[in-house]
């Protein structure tokens, strides 16, 4: 007889199907061979800018730093044609500072990680309180972490119940559910966790790869597993859930390859920041660098852009 945990996983895998790691990695390697030129490249770069959740999640964050991050989010570049990013992503204590810096009807949203980010190891009551505080301070979006311990133990009901509880606490805020893929060990588990989350989310919510606080973050392969789960779930139920890879996407080239994967897996309807985001900080400057290069035909001097997200 299989253990309870084994049985739970087997039943879930039977329902949603499994993933072959070799075939998956072969598939995503092909996205990297797409060649994006001229208008297609510029469109992709600009679209990627609009999808960035410009993030600072450091113990040393200050209201001043958050304010400069917000300024960067609204006007990423001197070039007026560069659009604002999707959101700034901060800790709950910084939400009100971000809200003040952006103003009320800003084109940039305020996202807050909550639920004892990144570990999630706090009592549910505490976590819900944190969500509530962020919402009260003016957050538009909440990024939560799932209970990986319960998931790996095969206790799926508590995992989903917690997501539902946070979803209720969110009210009208969009919810992004972080699976923390590097702690889920296998692609099968990533697909399983995606489905657990998808089944309790509303249209307009997101699933997200990682906190950015562990060794391995967003990769093309786990992005692919998750967008395929989103696609299968959408075709079955009609509920369109968004996707946010986070951590590890630093170059414009990488971001374009992720967008190619989205275009060829989920189609045009997901090529918008309502359904796809990049959780990143240094990515933005590389996107700007490449946009300037596409427009002028030459790379600008390196000191026109800053590598360090701290110096926004």
């Amino acid at each position: 007889m299989p253990s309870a945990a084994q049985g739970a996983f087997r039943r879930l895998f039977d329902e949603i199907g499994s993933v072959d790691a070799v075939g998956l990695e072969e598939r995503v390697a092909k996205y990297g061979t797409r060649s994006l030129k001229k208008a297609a490249k510029l469109w992709g770069l600009n679209r990627a800018v609009t999808m960035v959740d410009l993030t600072t999640l450091e113990g040393k964050d200050t209201p001043g730093k958050v304010a400069s991050l917000c300024a960067k989010a609204l006007h990423p570049h001197d070039e007026a044609s560069v659009p604002p990013v999707a959101a700034v992503c901060v800790y709950p204590s910084m939400v009100r500072h971000a809200r003040r810096a952006l103003g009320e009807r800003a084109p940039v949203k305020v996202a807050s990680v909550a639920t004892a980010f990144p570990s999630g190891q706090a009592p549910l009551k505490t976590r819900l309180g944190e969500v509530q505080a962020a919402v009260d301070d003016g957050a538009d979006e909440i990024d939560m972490v799932i209970n990986r311990g319960a998931f790996l133990a095969g206790e799926f009901a508590p995992v989903q119940d917690e997501i539902v509880a946070v979803r209720e606490a969110c009210g009208r805020c969009a919810l992004k559910v972080i699976l923390e893929v590097s702690e889920l060990e296998t692609y099968d588990n990533i697909r399983a966790a995606s489905f657990l989350a998808l089944r309790v989310l509303r249209t307009g919510d997101f699933i997200k790869t990682s906190t950015g606080k562990t060794g391995l973050n967003a990769t093309l392969a786990n992005n692919q597993v998750m967008i395929e789960a989103i696609r299968d779930f959408y075709l079955e139920t009609g509920r369109a859930i968004g996707m946010k890879p986070a951590g590890g996407i630093r170059s414009a080239k990488q971001a374009l390859t992720f967008l190619v994967a989205v275009k060829e897996t989920l189609g045009d309807a997901w090529l918008t920041n309502a359904r796809y985001r990049f959780g990143a900080s240094s990515l933005l400057n590389d996107l700007l660098r490449q946009i300037a290069k596409e427009k002028s035909g030459a790379y600008q001097p390196p000191y026109y852009f800053s590598e360090a997200a701290e110096s926004y």
């Binding site: 199907g17 993933v19 072959d20 075939g23 060649s35 994006l36 490249k41 395929e228 897996t265």
Partner: protein
Amino acid sequence: MATAPRVSRNSRRQGRPAPELIFGDLWPYDPAPESADPKLKTRYDLFIDGAFVPAKSGRTFETINPGNEKKLADVALADAADVDRAFQAARRAQESVWSKLPGRERGKYLYRIARLLQDRAREFAVAETLNGGKPIKEARDFDVPMAAAHFFYHAGWADKLAFAFPGASVSPVGVVGQVIPWNFPLLMLAWKIAPALAAGNCVVLKPAETTPLTALKFAEILQEAELPAGVVNIVAGAGETGAAVVSHPLAAKVAFTGSTEVGKIIQRQLAGSGKKLTLELGGKAANVVFDDAPLEQAVEGVVNGIFFNQGHVCCAGSRLLVQETIADALVAKLKLRLRSLRVGDPLDKNTDVGAINSKAQLEKIRELVASGVKEGAELYESPCRLPAKGFYFRPTLFTQVSMSHRIAREEIFGPVLSVLTFRTVEEAVEKANNTAYGLSAGVWTEKGSRILKLAGELKAGVVWANTFNKFDPTSPFGGYKESGFGREGGRQGLADYVNLS
């Protein structure tokens, strides 16, 4: 896909349209043509005895780009007299130089050829794409590197033949006549020439009539490598030239890759002649997908199996055998995947499916597809736009196919997949083996024991498990039944190019 069924029933009850994905024009990729210069000449002569010479008759034929139907070059047309000249040169080289050269010296030439091919990889990839219609990404990432890999691999064997066949004394066969097809012009040339030279044989090779250019460009590499004159001779032409090559009395061995029909003619011709013969012929491979297979990756493998090189692959997985319980889900996913395949200009780096090799082949595909419709199978075509000029065919799949349909029995050699279903393992094996061919097969399941069982029971030269169309110079490739005999690649492939005593 099993998600909460309650939700889906609700959405249907409310009469909402079924959710669909949009693969539209929001973000079109700009044209991204490969810019390397293929360095094509306007005229190519035959390569005989180390030099480019016109045909004795002075006749030439045109070779075109199937992607836009424009002429690429005039090529000298070899007749029996030219073929004879080539065989005489090969015999002289064989007797006076090549068979006397120590293995390690032959190996040096092979290494040199391999490296020169790598040096000029982009140029050869573009030439291969222009002349054959395959997508540049395949020519660049598969054909050319794999051709070089075959020369590297066999260069390593050249001085180790005694170790390849322990206990036997190894000698070359002599002069070999080789005839290759148009689907992988450069790679098939490498599969043929590399083992022949490694084992100490000399060669007369005829490339296909529609794709002679990379073979003749390869002759430039042989000159650059200073390969002794006459060791390799290349004669271009159509069927008549091929017949002259295989029936020439100096050919100690004949190696042919092409259609089963022509293979049978050659075998009849050579019967009783004492010549060695290897044939690599057609196929109608079954890709068998069980209900426990990882569906997404199976779809990818099936697509790769049939649409790779527009389906112009003798081992293409042209019959999909899918377990009944997952047939609908798999076909739905396949149709979705077909919509994001990019069909068009072979030179564009983003093209997934290029041009059909020739007008004749396009007509053959059309004829067989029409027969499928007529016999009652259900047709699905990718909705992609096709270029106005050139030979193109939409990626196509047939459902409701039964074993007696022509599209389930005959080799289509195009981007057309026939989907059949099965219920039990025994039925899968029975259906997979119920064909005149036996070149390759694929099995998709998470169950290791089932893979081993099918690997044993499927009558096919290669059985891929949870993957498809994987090649390596070390791995022998060849067929059962009417897919031919003899192997290419690996030690087994080498054995066909030596006499053992």
